[in-house]
Symmetry: C2
Subunit: 154 residues, 2 copies
């Protein structure tokens, strides 16, 4: 499916949910045939589990919903460029399109650090578009870390 800003807005809503529980604000949704079937936000600290990134939370839910490990005709919208684990999970679950917001120079695996989505690198190709609603997605993170630093300084 083509990019639809409405779904990125929903991913941003998810990021804000993470922020509200003091988690690094990253949010994701999975869209199947034009309809959101799963939402997820970062819960690494809350769940005490490094696997609980927004994308993984959403893939878990979408798999339950569709009843199989493949997520055909599914797109992921996520506020931040995926890390290696999440990029791999997106490939493993056979997602068609990945739409992400901000770039992540430190861990991003859709071109920033390395490109795991390079055509024919693995047995499934994901179509990737980055930098969507980039400023809004990046600002949520920047503000979060700014507040965190201010708290530490007090």
């Amino acid at each position: 499916m083509e990019y639809n800003a409405q779904f990125m807005k929903e991913a941003i809503k998810q990021a804000k949910k993470a922020e509200s529980i003091n988690e690094t604000p990253i949010g994701a949704v999975i869209v199947h045939k034009g309809k959101i079937i799963a939402r997820g936000y970062n819960k690494r600290e809350t769940n005490k589990n490094s696997l609980c990134h927004a994308e993984i939370m959403a893939i878990n839910k979408a798999s339950k919903k569709l009843g199989g490990w493949r997520l055909p005709e599914c797109d992921m919208y996520v506020t931040l460029e995926p890390c290696p684990m999440c990029a791999g999970a997106i490939i493993s679950s056979r997602i068609d399109n990945l739409y992400f917001g901000a770039y992540d120079k430190k861990s991003g695996c859709a071109g920033s650090v390395t490109d795991l989505f390079k055509k024919n690198l693995f047995n499934h190709n994901v179509n990737v578009v980055g930098g969507l609603m980039e400023n809004e997605c990046a600002d949520i993170l920047k503000n979060f870390f700014k507040k965190l630093r201010q708290k530490k300084e007090i």
Copy 2:
């Protein structure tokens, strides 16, 4: 901790558990201060979830056991070179040493397709040794796929 063949044998046992339920036979264990704290085997088909690779199953259990998203002083033993998702999860969970058996030319991310463990690529460095008990680990997979082809031919 240094490599200990006993733990790779336990990972192989886990791979055989996967085989016994008709899953691609891959097994993993996580060792903390010289003691196995988590075991896992591939359950992708059984759980209908692309995230259920052996390594992820083991990381989930180890996180619960240690009570945090970081797995300090932990080593992973796995029968096959990790895919991008699992390589990323190993980095994300801050595992110290990765010991793997067979190489995976199609999806391996410890040098075969790409090397996600290249020093200073991400914010955590994992020490990696591959090709341990390589033939035994590879044979389990080869035999599994051979039997699968024979079944299909009947």
